[in-house]
Symmetry: C2
Subunit: 217 residues, 2 copies
Amino acid sequence: MRELFQQELHEVQDRLVEIAQLVVDAITDAVEAFNKSDVTLAESVIVRDNKIDDAVVALDELAIAILARQAPVAKDLRIVVSALRISASLERMGDMAEHLAQLARYRFPEKVVPKTIRPIFKEMGVLDIELAKMLVVLLKTEDVEIAEKIRDEDDKVDALHLSVFETVLSDSWSQGTETTVDATLASRYLERFADHAVSIAKKMMYLATGEWNPPKH
Amino acid sequence: MRELFQQELHEVQDRLVEIAQLVVDAITDAVEAFNKSDVTLAESVIVRDNKIDDAVVALDELAIAILARQAPVAKDLRIVVSALRISASLERMGDMAEHLAQLARYRFPEKVVPKTIRPIFKEMGVLDIELAKMLVVLLKTEDVEIAEKIRDEDDKVDALHLSVFETVLSDSWSQGTETTVDATLASRYLERFADHAVSIAKKMMYLATGEWNPPKH
């Protein structure tokens, strides 16, 4: 019984890592589809989002079954509760990747944002992909130092998100309304993606420490 | 022991209703601040968001304590797990109200969106407030018919959200970039607010039925 329980806990953690890997793939392809106006890749991201959603539902069912059958306590309970909370954030990260891919598909064969502002989006994309990869490592290792790095990366994404607005609102911005709307939404999706990574990092801190809001150093 | 347990479960449900009521207040005031460019009210919404966040953390701690001490099963377990998931959505609804209030504060003494498009936002605001009020009733009564109504209302919000984009992208739109950005973001916040209401309705269906994705009729 005890051995089965430990197996199930490992299963929960393995599945979280698998879903995080699906999110890495989704954001990697969404960013490339967005940057290169690749409609096939965009459609692939959109189709694959269901996989992430299904994996999240299945993981949640497993977590609830474990709560019901095993009545875990202490660290074991934190693993299961954290899984429920982290899976919700991973699902939303998948949604953000999907939204970005949808923008790429709508605007095909045009690129979503104009040349002048593209470097900012490229940098945000690179950071979001890095963040997703860090989450995979964090979920595997529970290394809280990675959680700190995730916060730092998110600060960079926030700064880039602000600079998108500065560019769009500057006198030199001569783009039409459609482009303004797309740039606003794309930037928001990339920023929210990073926010969810921070949110997962916090939940992992809870898993490691038992504290919801560990003090920032 | 059993009596204490039942008391604690009631406490969980009461607290969810309280938080939902805070969200009703937040969206009601945020919509009014947005429509009337009321900076004092906007600031009140922004300040009060911490209250919602704190109440959510406290509720989550209670839910986890119950899982640890009582090892609930069946419906009791679903109450506790649902509370954890619903509290996260309520927190995000509070954030959306806060974001709307922030737009009102930034643009003060101007209104955020121009006259032509204001009726659409007013209608979205009315629907969001209604949705939040329905959630309070749903959390109190577990009446799944309300869950259906919430989905219908969300469809209306989605249609209005689309009509914001249609207006902004039409030839008759003569507003500057700042207004376009603000209208895009405000519409997105109002739409996401409604999405979270649907998400909570689904979680209440799970609570009532034990099924994650009950078929739509």
